[in-house]
Symmetry: C2
Subunit: 677 residues, 2 copies
């Protein structure tokens, strides 16, 4: 298996479309231990990205198997344990990076995201618990509040004196948060807001921390007020700090919390519900960075347009979404590492003329299960590093200096990657579990726990379908300012009125991509499929084609005088495909850029193979589309299928190296199945 | 939405390939309550199949929410509870059907499988626990034993005085059970067998019941013996009844059981491990229907060929595999029912010019998530009913009257459907969970529990990948007798030597399929894609093409003097595709036959639409292959995509009817999310 040129599949190598191993890519068993260690090191350097030092610190701190989830804990025990570890983290200054230095933190957003991601290798409950406290609750106070809130809360948030939760979702509204039904009515007589759950559907639901530990909630509610003489009306959704429990953990007057109880996973997170019965809070508890209410009830905001105001507020909370995507990446990598290690030990069915059985990883079917997912994990990790860095830059710039277009682009990219990365992770974990058979189903081997924990990542912090659609809507409407918050029908009318077939590329094409495009034939069929420029072209052409035809389709349908919502709805599958195709192209280009920046020649060559497998698998997964729209010929399609096989066989000897390079702390990979094989 | 002819997607109806609603298929809201109830009744009649009376009995008995899994139970409590319910079932005569009347049962195999399947609507742990006791352990005694075993054990198995487990899988061997390492060595001096775990990998593992409840084990072990004067040698794997615990639940001497502990689901099943240290059992504990050992150690068997003997024994145990597939179908249907009901209540994002929000199920994206899976569930249910009936026939015929070819075909079909149905179920449950967002993640709404429970169905009772490959190997080698048990390489040599390109169809083509084929053009592109004959042709042509090209590929590769295992391995993805394509064709034809047998015109017409959606979705999922091999034109491929949209929109008004027809007891669908929407 380690000499792929002998295998029949590589007779396909006669055609230029099927990759062949360059002489420099040595199989692992041809490397000395030192050479292999260096290769792992160099691969990890690329995967770790800009905050690699932070990763190493967390690696060192977290390399303890007692951090792993323990399924024998009761719900109470799991929750207490998780809170205990979060306390321990806070004592080691874990949270400071997420807050500005003049609020008591150290102001390193990228470090904050990266360290929360690294917790995913230990326990996803721990990541979520920390993410809720510091990323969501802390993020709301930090980003939506002003000096008075920073002074009052941030230190306590960092050191856990102020335990909070993020009360946005309601029973009736998850995705459509503009329609939340909780109200915050200003009472000018007492200078208070009255927080109230107006309907059963207005109940805050699924809120991490609300069941037990949180003493404060960042509550999103319709702000209702009026200036003197006017009729009170809703100014849209705003965020308020609301105390919900006393020191002993009892609900405060007017507050009724309850427990969401057992879930599909994340046993260490106490998700709960909150109902407000005319709860009064001081007016200064409004997080008033983007809007305020004067004592007489007059509403003021530096942002005139209510939609823009709302989405500006939402936009600052992007950190949660980026963290969730990053952590999903970590969970996927961990599952693939466990499955790969098992696949390299496990033997089943005898080889012909051999007494020993065949290593499971030597079966093409098994390689095809795991290796393309490993390749995709590499690509996503690189894209994730870029998003983290971009978020860091955007949120590190002074607030008034911020570039709205850049922020908007980041939000869209983060939404797209959140969906792409979490779906990938959920799938990779499922496949990894299956690849380990009965052993994979035992909690002692971790995969089944990760499977339960990761599941909700596809729907929390933005439902993946809604996220994917958001990307497409932004692309089709060129990130126009006044399109956010439009109903589906209104958005269709807007897009059609833009009267443009092709949407201008908002971001500049990266230099490396530009160079590669220039070095490849515009006619993709004329160029070798292992040519990186051709690969980019195929991904870009698909995206452009989808955007153009989607716009045409919407226009034609509306011209025919159809109902605007129906026009939107009938094109929904097309829209979702636009979103996925765009994100996949962005992921590919990020991977290529990371390989380009890789200084080690042997690592870069191996990464090149991994990138080929990512591309070939992505093309194979969408072959129907490429053939149907004649972006790929039938001959090339067949070469792609063969190419996946060849690449799997070529990467097989590097399987252990590839997963070792994820750099998962060894004690977090504890699994009895890896002891006997 | 209920008038699809107005929707833009159905302007595609100008082409003949996109289905249009015939006037007779009325939307549900156009039916009176009585008419809808009758339609549901008629659909259910078809879905329920031959053992519909059994289904109704179990429905009545199980319509109690206290049968649902309760996540607050500790592992011990969950296990005791499950055993308690199994005891209750046995008191109501639940198990009698599975055993022959002269052994103390009532001898209705189909009824037995069907009632175990129906338990899946309540609690999958319950189904597995019952399945292990009566289907696996009981099935081994019933089918591999002889009168002495039947007399001694069957009554106790039925009424739970004899609690057993099925100890086949070992830590080192799951799929390759011919290589089990546990030995049973005959001692002629004492007329005993000595059961021994020869290596750490010989430990029996993942065995349901072995952790706590089982007092007996049906142990699969290499039988080692010799006649007078000869050297003892292994006669292959045989099954032995081994007592493992005393009345108080203590391990018997030489037995060491242990607990697999927490798992990804199935909390009510006590999976465990067994290690044997030279445990002596009387010689008569060998289940000796197919082989025996004379007092002097001479081994005898009516089946000369050891491979054939082994696979004959294995073949009689097929009931477990059929039950697992059937129950997975039930689990998938239940998850889809919960998600559909939620989708019909849940509203999100306002409609243009409306104050109310849009019902989630009205989004095309949501329809596309759920409706094709509902359609596939219908198709699979019909195929499952056929397998159950065939199993009933085969196992009800007198042993000596049995038709080896028919048995072999049944085993292959059961393997294929097991993989197809359990993968579908696992996917459907995942999608259903996601479609319910946060609510879907709470155990109170059941989906997350089903998700954890169903996961292992894809790998236990035969790993799905191995099962799918088995189907392909049987097809390619025409179910030849001497091919079972051959190594991969040996099998390749056999297939190549058959020197035939196309494999003879072993089963007669059904009459209804024959008629439909005759009424359609041989050139599928010339015939309407809604034509049932054309649909069958596309599925049959794909299967034939795959089998033929796979055989050619193996022959060519072996001719080139390649290593036989490598030839096999390089074609593994091709082989797996053969298996899937075959099973999907069988499923389609079973569905068509069931529709053909449906007496109600309105039900048959609705089923026809459901069948169209199953076909269009299956084609869409494999469009790359159909285009690449020119079985479908680009134009038709586009029509298929549009057709899925149109069919989803046409079936949307029937969504509730379609899931109601599954006939899941109402109290087993308890879910708070369905109370507030």
């Amino acid at each position: 298996m380690s000499t792929p040129t002998e295998s029949p599949a590589s007779d396909a190598a006669r055609t230029p479309d099927v990759p062949v191993t360059p002489p420099d890519v040595s199989a692992d068993d041809e490397l000395s231990a030192d050479e292999r260690a260096l290769l792992v090191e160099n691969l990890r350097y690329t995967l770790d990205g800009r905050w690699r030092a932070v990763r190493d610190t967390v690696r060192e701190q977290s390399n303890r198997s007692e951090l792993l989830p323990d399924p024998s804990r009761t719900l109470d025990e799991a929750r207490s344990h998780t809170l205990g570890v979060v306390r321990e983290l806070s004592q080691h200054g874990f949270a400071s990076a997420g807050f500005a230095s003049d609020h008591g933190g150290t102001g390193d957003v990228g470090a904050s995201i990266t360290s929360i991601e690294m917790l995913g290798y230990a326990d996803l409950s721990l990541m979520v618990k920390a993410g809720v406290q510091w990323g969501l609750f802390g993020g709301a106070v930090e980003n939506l509040g002003t000096a008075r809130h920073h002074e009052r809360y941030v230190k306590g948030i960092i050191d856990l004196d102020v335990l909070g939760c993020f009360a946005m979702t309601e029973t009736g509204h998850g995705s459509n948060v503009q329609a939340l039904e909780t109200t915050a009515t200003y009472d000018r007589d007492t200078r208070e807001f009255v927080i109230h759950s107006t309907t059963p559907g207005a109940r805050k639901d699924y809120i991490g921390g609300a069941a037990e530990h949180a003493r404060y909630a960042a509550v999103f509610a319709q702000l209702i007020t009026a200036g003197p003489g006017a009729e009170p009306e809703s100014q849209g959704v705003h965020c308020f700090v609301v105390p919900i429990r006393d020191e002993d953990g009892n609900d405060l007057p007017g507050i009724t919390t309850s427990d969401c109880g057992y879930k599909g996973g994340l046993a260490g997170v106490d998700n709960g519900r909150i109902v407000f019965d005319n709860v009064r809070i001081p007016a200064e508890n409004l997080l008033n960075r983007y809007a305020d209410v004067e004592p007489d009830g007059t509403y003021t905001s530096p942002i005139e347009n209510p939609n823009r105001r709302f989405f500006t507020m939402l936009g600052t909370l992007i950190r949660g979404r980026v963290s969730v995507a990053a952590t999903a990446g970590a969970a996927g990598r961990k599952a693939l590492t466990l499955a790969t290690r098992y696949g390299l030990m496990r033997k089943q069915f005898e080889a012909p003329d051999e007494t020993d059985e065949i290593i499971v990883m030597d079966y093409l079917g098994h390689q095809r299960k795991l290796l393309p997912l490993i390749a995709k994990s590499y690509a996503i990790a690189c894209a994730q590093n870029e998003i983290t860095a971009e978020l860091h830059e955007v949120q590190s710039s002074s607030p008034d200096d911020s570039d709205a277009g850049r922020q908007r682009q980041l939000e869209s990219d983060a939404a797209g990657l959140k969906a792409y990365a979490t779906w990938h992770a959920s799938h990779a974990v499922n496949v990894s579990r299956e690849a380990c058979g009965g052993a994979g189903y035992l909690d002692e081997n971790q995969l089944s726990i990760i499977r339960g924990d990761i599941d909700v990542f596809t729907t929390f912090e933005g439902d993946n379908t809604v996220m994917t659609q958001l990307v497409a809507k932004e692309l089709l409407s060129s990130y126009a300012d006044d399109v956010q918050g439009l109903s589906a029908g209104g958005w269709v009318r807007f897009v059609v009125e833009m009267a443009r077939d092709v949407v201008a590329e908002k971001t500049a094409v990266r230099q490396v991509v530009q160079t590669l495009l220039e070095s490849s034939d515009e006619d993709t069929e004329k160029s070798n499929l292992t040519n990186r420029g051709t690969q980019i072209r195929l991904f870009r052409n698909r995206e452009d084609h989808l955007i153009r035809t989607c716009a045409q389709r919407l226009r034609r349908a509306l011209d025919d005088d159809n109902d605007a919502f129906e026009v939107f709805n009938n094109a929904q599958d097309h829209l979702l495909k636009v979103g996925r195709a765009h994100t996949e192209r962005v992921v590919l280009e990020a991977f290529i850029e990371a390989i380009n920046d890789c200084d080690s020649r042997s690592a870069a060559e191996l990464l090149g193979k991994v990138c080929d497998l990512f591309v070939y698998s992505a093309l194979e997964d969408d072959l129907g589309w490429f053939l149907m729209h004649r972006h790929i010929s039938v001959e090339r399609a067949k070469a792609i299928r063969r190419g996946v096989n060849t690449l799997c066989q070529e990467l097989r000897p590097h399987a252990r190296t590839l997963v070792d390079a994820f750099g998962i702390p060894e004690n977090l990979l504890a699994a009895p199945m890896l002891e006997h094989g």
